[in-house]
């Protein structure tokens, strides 16, 4: 008996080691792709396989990065864009969930507005940009409005669908205790929709960046979107690529934060 127990323990250890090895390999290849991509880019640019004026090179971007950090402009532009994105993203998520709750509360309202929601969702929201700028002024407010509107409708639709699909038996349980409609919403409908809300958060992270950057294109005053459009106008593609890399980096971090919230919020299912 002891013999077999030992054998099982050995097998288990081997299994854990294999799992770790697998994880290490995945990490290794991820890192390899990263390093290979930037090295190849650098080499291709230096040897003029690609046009350095258009595609720049990691080393030039890095030099510009250091310079922009030193003069403080990158930090301020990034800060502005990041702030706008986070506000737009939060507004879209909360307002979208709130509208979804309204639709759930008033079933007739949801029937009435259903076709309008579908059309609004299909419409390219960035096309509303010029109207926002005229109506709200060329600044912070218009850009946040862009960052919000771009994911608001889809959030409303997706969250409302998940509200509707809550297992009616949970509501039945609550109703047998005499629960009010609000209690049903608070105890069953909202918590059981958390997984869906989180997954819309993941989509909204990306969408909000798009909305805000397009907003900054149009307003052209400050922010990473402004840096991109400015770089394009003066044909400084190093600046464009630097802004893009910063956005990619920040979007990754926001995504990680959403993942962390997800693990905290829905650990028990």
């Amino acid at each position: 008996m002891k013999q077999t127990n030992n054998q099982i323990q050995v097998l288990h250890e081997q299994y854990v080691i294999r799992l770790k090895q697998e994880k290490r390999w995945v990490r290794f290849f991820q890192l390899l792709i990263f390093v290979a991509f930037f090295s190849l880019w650098e080499i291709a640019s230096r040897n003029h396989w690609i046009d350095p004026l258009l595609f720049s090179s990691p080393s030039t971007i890095w030099k510009l990065f250091v310079q922009k950090i030193a003069d403080g402009s990158l930090v301020s532009h990034t800060g502005i864009t990041l702030g706008e994105t986070i506000i737009g993203f939060m507004l879209a998520t909360f307002a979208g969930t709130f509208f979804a709750a309204l639709l759930w509360w008033f079933p007739r309202l949801s029937k009435i507005v259903d076709p309008y929601l579908v059309i609004l969702n299909a419409m390219p929201k960035v096309a509303l940009g010029p109207i926002f700028i005229v109506a709200l002024g060329p600044g912070f407010t218009s850009i946040i409005a862009m960052g919000t509107i771009i994911s608001l409708i889809i959030t409303t639709i997706v969250v409302y669908t998940s509200f509707k699909e809550v297992d009616p038996n949970y509501i039945k349980v609550l109703k047998t205790f005499g629960a009010s409609r609000f209690q049903c919403f608070k105890e069953a409908v909202l918590p059981s929709s958390f997984p869906t809300i989180i997954s819309t958060l993941k989509v909204n992270v990306g969408l909000s960046w798009v909305g805000v950057v397009v907003g900054e294109f149009l307003v052209s005053k400050q922010g990473l979107g402004y840096m991109i459009i400015y770089g394009f106008q003066v044909f400084n593609f190093t600046l464009v690529l630097l802004s893009l890399l910063v956005i990619a980096f920040l979007a990754t971090i926001m995504y990680q934060i959403v993942g962390w919230i997800e693990r905290k919020l829905i650990k028990n299912r």
Partner: protein, 257 residues
């Protein structure tokens, strides 16, 4: 006076295409402390009748009278148990069993303590901080029973609460529910399509026919079985006699369709 009276209740469901009569002219009376079963094939409106008694739906015709008062809206004197436990997966067992009390605003410390005591008496001590997915099916259904009993309802409506469990767990749980309800002197109404379960647990059995749901017969379970717990009742000779009898009755109902 009768504890619960179902007075000429009919119910029809309306859809765009048709009107389906689920219950037709059902009348019955239940005494305080009695354990009765609604037995019948699927589609006989058992669950509809249970929902009407719980005031989850209003009958098209007729009325339900509980302790001399007409049942209008959902009232705390009725406890309802569903086919599955429907414990809320994002709440701990403690939060789950106190749910009814919280909703009704009766969450005094004594009421909470009573619910927790009941939980440990039912063999679930020490799982208060667990989440439902950490418990087995039988344990979850027991926790659901505690949740239902926590609000101290006068009548329990059991809507096939054992049907989703494996046979062994089901027998154990029947035993536990029966004993608990007898101990607390609760009136109970069990919906089932399991003849054995109906005989083993109840004092009276109401047999329903399907499409439309009608009350066709009432069986009184013999005294010698009534006083036995479900498990012992199943081993009694009278049990199989009654089983055969009800079986034939159900069979002839289906043949008449």
């Amino acid at each position: 006076m009768n504890f619960l009276v179902v007075d000429h209740v009919s119910h029809t469901y309306f859809t765009e295409k048709a009107a389906v009569t689920a219950l037709e002219n059902v009348s019955l009376e239940i005494e305080k402390g009695e354990f009765v079963s609604f037995l019948g094939p699927s589609g006989c409106g058992k669950t509809t009748l249970l929902s009407i008694i719980a005031a989850l739906i209003q009958p098209t015709k007729g009325s339900v009278i509980l302790e001399g008062e007409k049942v209008h809206s959902i009232h705390p004197s009725v406890g309802y148990m569903l086919q599955q436990d429907y414990l809320f997966p994002w709440k701990t067992i403690e939060e789950n069993i106190l749910l009814g009390l919280t909703i009704m605003g009766m969450n005094s410390n004594e009421a909470k303590q009573r619910a927790l005591d009941l939980l440990s008496r039912i063999g679930l001590k020490g799982v208060e901080t667990y989440y439902p997915n950490q418990l087995s099916g039988g344990m979850r259904q027991r926790a659901a029973l505690v949740r239902t009993l926590a609000t101290d309802p006068k009548i329990l409506l059991l809507d096939e609460p054992f049907s989703a469990l494996d046979y062994q767990t089901k027998l154990k749980l029947e035993e536990l529910v029966w004993k608990t309800l007898k101990e607390y002197k609760k009136t109970a109404l069990l919906v089932t399509h399991d003849i054995g379960e109906a005989i083993a647990m109840s004092d009276r059995i109401f047999l329903f026919s399907a499409k439309p749901g009608r009350l066709v017969r009432t069986f009184i379970v013999p005294k010698e079985l009534r006083n036995l717990s479900p498990f012992h009742s199943r081993n009694h000779t009278t049990f199989s006699e009654l089983f055969q009898f009800i079986w034939k009755e159900l069979d002839s109902l289906e043949a008449n369709e």
